[in-house]
Amino acid sequence: MKRLPVSCPSCGGDLAVRRLCCAKCQTEIEGLYPLPPLAGFSPDDQEFILEFIKASGSLKDMASLLRVSYPTVRNRLDDIIRKLRQNEVKPKEKK
């Protein structure tokens, strides 16, 4: 599966969506749409976030699902929260 690029290979800036296409009728829409915050995460992190939501946010359930310890899960979640906060700060800095 191709990984969605989120940073510009030339200047390192955030990429935005320029064109969207309907998978059913092939209609194309052009515009300038920012990528959702979760798109900036690695596929592993995105999968973790999805599983976390499916587990109703239970760290214990996540720990048993992933077969790791509770603090390992919590630390990973902390890392994701930290990244999210950093991404939130970036746009503000640009403004």
Partner: protein, 338 residues
């Protein structure tokens, strides 16, 4: 994850997989087992970072040492974590993983099991005091080899303690390492203080035989005298005390001292005195009997001992609490009792 990586994680960061109550249970089991093996080899963990081979003690004392070390470090790191961590960590994770981090201590106890590890330091200290350097080369080599073999396990244990702190409190980098080192030093001091409080409870008061046979000890008892049993007890305590000297169990002998004697005649001095007597009068052979005197509330027992070259009285002075308040080695002045 490839098996090699998993093995590395299990060895150096098992807390990736195990924490909380599970780690606490395994850790406490490891501390108990370490105490048990330590009691066989007299291996003391008398401080968070200390490992010494020393005096014999009850099993519970060896277990208590491990528990004190674990609790001291866990409490200090818990406070450190609350100060520097930005996450709300669970107490059971830190305490559980810290308990499990002590499991390399079990291997240290195994390494210390050979008798040479206990014998060599005692002999070395005694010989150094006498200025008589006659070390058995094999003993020296074995002792050094075992001591060096312990070091990797000690380093491993400290590495696990840090990982436990890092994972449980989600702290990393220089700040985490600095805080951990500071915490470790504070915990070391605290554990040492706790040991000072524990030792008086741990060293057993030497059991005073209930009714040693009067004829065996040579006591001249008066029928109907109410003090006869007490005198027999005192004489029995004195002969038991000499037995401890003969067995080189100076820690247990010192346990019978009162506070003044404990200060005036610590274990090395008592050992030195006993060895000096044997050097002068030859090896101890047997006890010949006892005589009892009472002076100003003190009960004085003369335990006549036969050494290879001569007989000598070990004069043991008991206070009203049956504690040894004085100890002398004096020439036998009266004929040896029966």
């Amino acid at each position: 994850m490839n098996p090699q990586n998993k093995t590395r994680i299990l060895l150096f960061n098992p807390f990736f997989y195990i924490a909380g109550g599970q780690a606490l249970g395994l850790g406490l089991a490891a501390i108990l087992l370490t105490g048990l093996v330590g009691s066989f080899g007299h291996t003391h963990f008398d401080g968070v970072l200390d490992t010494h081979v020393g005096a014999s003690a009850p099993l519970w004392f060896f277990v208590a040492e491990g528990i004190i070390d674990w609790l001291c470090l866990s409490v200090v790191l818990w406070i450190c974590g609350k100060i520097i961590s930005q996450t709300a960590f669970r107490t059971v994770d830190l305490f559980g993983t810290q308990a499990l981090a002590r499991w390399p201590a079990f291997f240290i106890c195994l390494i210390a099991l050979p008798k040479v590890f206990r014998r060599f330091p005692l002999e070395a200290v005694a010989q150094l005091k006498q200025g008589n350097f006659q070390f058995n080369t094999l003993d020296v080599i074995l002792f050094l080899a075992l001591a060096i073999a312990m070091l990797p396990f000690l380093c491993w244990m400290v590495a696990l303690m840090y990982k436990s702190f890092s994972v449980s409190c989600n702290v990393k980098g220089g700040k985490a390492i600095g805080t951990f080192i500071a915490g470790l030093l504070i915990a070391e001091i605290l554990s040492k203080l706790a040991m000072v409080l524990l030792i008086p409870l741990a060293i057993p008061q030497a059991p005073i035989p209930a009714k040693p046979a009067a004829s065996a000890t040579g006591i001249q008892s008066v029928p109907g005298d109410s003090s006869t049993n007490t005198d027999s007890d005192i004489a029995g305590a004195a002969t038991h005390f000499v037995d401890l000297l003969v067995k080189d169990d100076f820690a247990a002998a010192i346990a019978q001292f009162d506070a003044t004697m404990k200060t005036a005649l610590p274990e090395p001095k008592l050992r030195e005195a006993w060895q000096s007597v044997q050097k002068q009068f030859g090896p101890f052979q047997k006890q010949l009997g006892t005589r009892l005197q009472e002076v100003e509330g003190y009960k004085i027992v003369f335990v006549t001992c036969q050494f290879e070259k001569s007989s000598l009285d070990t004069k043991v002075v008991f206070d009203s609490n049956h504690q040894v308040a004085g100890l002398f080695f004096v020439p036998t002045t009266t004929p040896s009792p029966k």
